[in-house]
């Protein structure tokens, strides 16, 4: 067993275990930390897949930002001790199994190679890819418009979320 496969198995265990903790724990804080473990595992997969920049982005944005946001959300709202209901578990299980069948069929049903691989495109390294990503962002034939629209999206999210979350007429505002 090579080191890559060992790393894959460890990361797969961490990712799936984190996901299971996220959706099974009765305590929302445990869910948040399970989500963090799962997202770190996914970041490890990005490293294995050669996407170093995305791995760092995943850690910085998700683990450093979004999970913290979730933790603040948890602390701003009380613990909600929900009841487990057999009906919900059954319905969710049916949908999950159906989705599993569809996805397994999709994965195992693929034949041959991925279409459209440029035969001249040689093996790329992480350092070259980030350059290509930057060129794609700056190319107006490619992703320049989505790049600028993303900043508008971030602006709307910032203003909207701050506006919604602002305490209206309460103490201290």
């Amino acid at each position: 067993m090579s080191a890559e496969i060992l790393a894959f198995l460890v990361l797969a265990t961490a990712t799936v275990a984190g996901g299971v903790v996220t959706l099974w724990s009765r305590y929302v804080v445990h869910s948040a930390f399970g989500l963090m473990l799962s997202l770190l595992g996914v970041a490890g997969f990005y490293v294995l897949l050669g996407s170093d920049f995305l791995a760092v982005t995943q850690v910085v944005v998700y683990v450093g930002g979004v999970v913290v946001l979730y933790l603040f959300g948890v602390m701003l709202t009380p613990p909600d001790r929900e009841e487990r209901s057999i009906r919900r578990i059954a319905v969710a299980g049916i949908f999950a199994v159906a989705a599993l069948v569809v996805l397994l069929k999709a994965v195992f049903g693929m034949e041959g190679r991925w279409y459209g691989v440029d035969p001249d495109r040689g093996p790329a390294s992480g350092g070259a890819v980030i350059r290509e990503v930057g060129n794609a962002f700056m190319d107006k034939e490619a992703y320049l418009l989505p790049f600028e629209i993303a900043s508008v999206l971030l602006l709307v999210a910032l203003v909207g979320a701050v506006f919604i979350a602002r305490r209206e007429g309460g103490r201290g505002s």
Binding site: G65, E148, S151, V159, A165
Partner: protein, 163 residues
Amino acid sequence: MSFDYLTIAVALVGGILFVYANMWILSLVRPNKPSDLKLSTYECGEEAFSSSWLRFDMRFYTVALIFVVFDLEIAFLFPWAVVYRSLGILAFVEGLIFVGILFLGLFYVWAKGDLDWVKAFAKGRIPEVLDGPPSREVRKGVFESGLSGGPERNGGGEEAGTS
């Protein structure tokens, strides 16, 4: 790249093992005599009287939100920063537009006072903040607007008389 991240993996595993191995070794030699008093939550010598859950102030969320937005800005600007020198002035202007649009949001939250930790200061109600030791009035303002939620700890005492 065969496995460049082996160093990080070794450091990670080594760090985790170091902590837990030490805890395990120490658990072999330390005395273990638990009692009710030792196991209770330590709260500055007082008896614990409420749940550890208390509602945090909204401002923490606002700051975290702004942090996440500018975190994402870095994710977009890093590829731009790698290539803008080779693409000339146009790419530079494109990056400036990106940053400019985001700064509109920053100016909005700044102007609306969401970044002021203590809102009373921003509204100019307490002008003597900057010179001299804080007066009783100021400390009251800090307490009321800075720490909402949680049990009131300061009792009736001196603060109640000023309101």
